[in-house]
Symmetry: C2
DNA sequence: ATTAAAATGGTGGAGTTCCAACAATTATGA
DNA sequence: TCATAATTGTTGGAACTCCACCATTTTAAT
């Protein structure tokens, strides 16, 4: 109960107005989450974007790249790179879309299905660590509040 | 009250397990926030990282680059680039640290002080848009919940 | 039916970030 | 003390993402 001593040898700094900014708090959380995600899935060389793409393609076989871009808020040119990566790994395939000759229909390969089945429990573990200090109500409120930030995002 | 019609011509897709993942929700919110931030401050060519750096240097004159890296969860090499950018714009200065010859002491220039004074109201406007659909209790709970995600982040 | 506008996948270039390695300096331990 | 550890700023290389632009194709408007 003595003074504000710290064992840390690092300077304790003044964060100014940053802690009051939602943008700052979301960014800091996102950095920490990304770090834990990639560390936990390092054996599979997987990022949140690649994983999210696999999930969306599984749930929507034949999904078009532009739909993927909108769903993940990525540029269409970024999706080109993402699908290239997954295709080179043999996890997805580009097929010609029958209803629109501009589009590619993206589907999971069998290998993609297998990998995704392996990844899901690892992501569940990662998520459990994220929320380990939150009770169910806090979790629900967090998701609800995040969803109200720019609800018209596209 | 008819069926689930939509005026959108875009495919409504199945997001699978993504909406239940905190990591996904934080990422999507962060993308939307970053987009609004940079659009709102486009005249000043300012990013959240550059702004956060200016705020921390103002609040902690003579801050060392390594402390900045820890505070913003950036790699030390990234901070080199960030300070280079701000120094080239004449907003900060590197000085030799008197107590540790390995370190640089970073300070704001007068121009940096002036710019930061101009930026703060713009960031306040941006923040107001972020939280416009949240009441005070939701805001507080959001910040508290985000702070409980990897509270030992460094 | 024809023309104008919008959407799609893709390329090239740029910005931001990380990691691995390095020399210089400081801190720690035997 | 003195040898070893750790820390600091920096560089070079890579990964991820965006923007501007393009040709092809589809949609909308006249």
């Amino acid at each position: 109960m003595a003074g504000p001593e710290r064992n840390s040898r690092h300077a304790r700094i003044d964060y100014g107005l940053l802690p009051g900014l939602i943008g700052y708090q979301v960014r800091q959380a996102q950095i920490a989450i990304f770090r834990d995600f990639t560390a936990n899935l390092a054996d599979h060389d997987m990022t949140p974007t690649l994983f999210g793409t696999l999930v969306l393609v599984e749930a929507n076989p034949g999904l078009k790249q532009a739909d993927l871009a909108r769903a993940l808020q990525l540029d269409r040119s970024t999706v080109v790179t993402v699908i290239d990566t997954l295709e080179h790994r043999g996890l997805v395939e580009r097929k010609r879309a029958v209803d629109d000759r501009r589009s590619n229909a993206v589907t999971l390969t069998n290998a993609g299905e297998r990998i995704l089945t392996m990844l899901k429990p690892l992501v569940t573990d990662h998520e459990a660590r994220l929320v380990k200090d939150l009770d169910a109500g806090e979790r629900t409120a967090l998701v609800a509040a995040l969803g109200k930030i720019f609800p018209d995002r596209r």
